[in-house]
Amino acid sequence: MAKHETPLLDELEKGPWPSFVTDLKRQAETKPECWDILGQLELSYKDRITHWKHGGIVGVFGYGGGIVGRYSDVPAQFPGVEHFHTVRIAQPSGLYYTTENLRALMDLWEKYGSGVTNMHGSTGDMIFLGTRTENLEPLFWDLTHDLGQDLGGSGSNLRTPACCLGESRCEWACYDSQEICNHLTQHYQDEIHRPAFPYKFKFKFSACPNDCVAAIARSDFSVIGTWKDNIRIDQAAVKEYMADNAEYPSNGGAHKGGDWGPFDIQKEVIDLCPTQCMWMEGDELKIDDAECTRCMHCINVMPRALRPGAEKGASILIGAKAPILDGAQFSTLVIPFIEVNKESDFEEVIDVIEKVWDWWMEVGKNRERVGETMQRVGLPTFLSVMEVEPLPQHVKEPRSNPYVFWKEEEVPGGWDRDVKEFRKRHAA
């Protein structure tokens, strides 16, 4: 039986789509507090204002993150959501769970919370939605002691690092994204669990430019696999694709359902290469690798014929964010190629990370993501902070500012000037 009338929310159950309203009503059969989520949301739709209070002091002892405190501002009306805190659970690298572990996690959440989950949140963690303050410590105890799992990051912390499934399953992986993700998670425990920065900071690791974890859009520090040398071509396999051999379906058969007609390498691959760096010479496929942007299109279409090069590593891009202050932005290429090396405990990548942190913690304003700080100072300044020589690949668009500012060390012979003497004649 419905505890509250929800005519506005009920509209969201019409139509062919899955509905969170239907899901919450079903959940309310065993977890009655879910009625109060619906009741309060209905009231918000009517009042056109949120009834969640923002923020608070809840957490587990010793941790400054992982729990997001939420309280209702109308608890008398909706006691089930008087407290409705979110718990972030760190996800395993590549999101590999055993069914046994998933069941144990769900049992834990049935016991201590509303049973409502979000798998996975945009940071990467598994999100448990809705519990009371007094349940937090017991939940944390069972999670860490019985399941050997940990909370993720929230607030001004390093957020739970996330990665693609990489070398565990994917032949395109250019580095071991799971290994570095796990290594840095261990290495930066303090930064994950205790606030460290002017604002949140996220790492994400995709082992090739297909970027399955959307690192370029969702992380301040995006590590995306790439290669230095040439795309490896198996010309015999190219011919099999062109002959429409059923053993060589385009895109690995992912679009097999549709009627696309015979495979057309010119139309489906060569003409779609964004840098127009491919062509046929007789029946041989040629690539001008110096012009290839590593977009992965040709490799995705003909996986049996084309492979990433052999000299593998990653590009580091910095500064993605979703809109809170300004619009969304992607990360910007900063380090074109870096080796991602387990033998050195990923020291090369760690050096870059700490260079960014040291600068951003100093220069970044409160609640300013590093991408906003970069925008504020400009890319040339940021590149000099990072001690990176500017490259054509760093340039997003032709210059829009007609002035060129030289530094003294950039001009042969430098210059002498006495600013005091100059100001005597030209007051500032």
């Binding site: 002091i57 405190g69 607030g155 303090d190 606030p195 460290a196 002017p198 949140k200 913690m361 409160n366």
Partner: protein, 76 residues
Amino acid sequence: MALSVEEIEAAMIAKAEKSPKPQLYIKDFYACAPDMKPREVKKIANALVTKGKLMFWSSGSTTMYAVPSRIKDEEK
């Protein structure tokens, strides 16, 4: 002359007690330890939380520090 850790801690608590708003950002504490790197200041602030002299206040996306007595507990 560089300040001792005790002097820095005292300066941080004094700042959190006197600030117009009870919650402070980590950056607000940098001035208490002018010779230290921000990551060192962060360690001191977090140690003060462990000792119960400061506490975290989080919006979910941002974390701030406050003197416990100045914070309204939503549950009281």
